[in-house]
Symmetry: C2
Subunit: 206 residues, 2 copies
DNA sequence: TTGGTATCCCCCCTTTAGGGGGTATTGCGC
DNA sequence: GCGCAATACCCCCTAAAGGGGGGATACCAA
């Protein structure tokens, strides 16, 4: 039957891929045509698998799932990517969708949601599991969207560089760095650098 | 047969529990007598399950797996806890073992390691999967061990409180807070507060 | 054209943090 | 008894961050 959806799974959590594989194969809906535990494995094999749907973990060991997603959806536009993740950070979801993912599941989603997601993205729709859907509609998290430069500075601040050091590194005036820093505190509503770093890491803004 | 080991699983990742359950049940070694997705569920049911081995996720939604581990190993000393986690942070492993866990697995462990772990802890041994074993033997991470007070201060620093504010809150002299802060920077080898906060979060020192 | 946003730069000033010293008590283990 | 770690406290000084202003360019969209 050509009727079943071909699914490939990319996730470094081997137990989870076992579970997923069983879940998918036991359904009437789809069959698993391949499993990879690293981005490199996925790159090598996806051409042979030619899956309709790729279940892709965001937190791969060898490269960012976000970047891999972009690459794969460009190279294989017929394959729909359904992203999988443990955490539910607004910016991560946003980036995955911007990079061509068709859907998003958190790993503690129910089995039915996984199958529903596979079916939906295979049909060309976008699919967000309930938890992510709620997250994306929450206005509070939406406003945190930093420009390229701001993210760059935030990263350097998190690494503990002082204004002078940052200025030297990216060839800008220390006064400019000060301005950016003040702006970041304002934008994120952070009281000081400590909170700024905390927010940057916890909300994965860098 | 009384020969098979009774296993219970506590993890909020439903797909993973499915995978684990399949894995365990398919083996000759053990059978799954119960699955819970929250600490509350586990508390209610574990008395009925009476498992020999409890596969316990550290990152539960409703309470810390670390605290739950302590509680369960006290209440049910015959049940051996085999901890499961996504990340491999030295301090988390340390705390789990201190709180009575008999073994520790990372979630991307291979299936064989899971079964080996179950068998080992059921036999009263301690078991660390390869990755964790390596981690615990690495001398670099060992030295980071903070006192109660230091952790308390670190937490407040991460929340963005100034020395004066911290002093007011825990009724100490601002000068004392300064000393502790300097000491934390020294101990963790952090250049400034930004790095301190980053390390505290990434290494789950708080 | 006007408004918005991203980029970059400068002044003032105060508060906080960081680097360097130091002291003292308590309680634990050897 | 001695060493040692944890706790709590103090002074001096400099470096860095934070709070308040201000301004400039450029580009894009309404």
């Amino acid at each position: 039957m050509n009727n079943t959806i071909k699914v490939a799974i990319v996730d470094d959590h081997k137990i989870l891929t076992e579970g997923l594989k069983g879940l998918v194969d036991d359904s009437e809906l789809a069959t698993v045509v391949g499993v990879a535990h690293t981005a490199a494995d996925c790159r090598h094999s996806i051409g042979f698998w030619k899956p309709d749907v790729l279940l892709l973990d965001v937190g791969l060991p060898d490269m960012s799932g976000i970047d891999l997603c972009k690459e794969l959806t460009t190279r294989f536009p017929l394959t729909k990517v359904l992203a999988l993740t443990t955490h539910n950070e607004y910016t991560v979801v946003r980036k995955m969708l911007d990079n061509g993912a068709s859907g998003y599941l958190v790993k503690n989603a129910m089995a039915e949601e996984v199958l529903a997601g596979i079916e939906a993205v295979a049909a060309g729709k976008t699919f967000l599991c309930h938890e992510i859907d709620v997250l994306m509609k929450k206005p509070s998290s939406k406003n945190i969207w930093l420009s390229q430069r701001e993210r760059e500075l935030l990263k350097l601040i998190c690494e503990g560089l002082t204004n002078a050091e940052i200025a030297a590194q990216i060839f800008l005036s220390p006064e400019t760095i000060k301005s950016y820093r003040k702006n970041l505190l304002l934008k994120l509503g952070a009281k000081n650098t400590a909170v700024l770093v905390k927010m940057a890491i916890e909300q994965k803004l860098i």
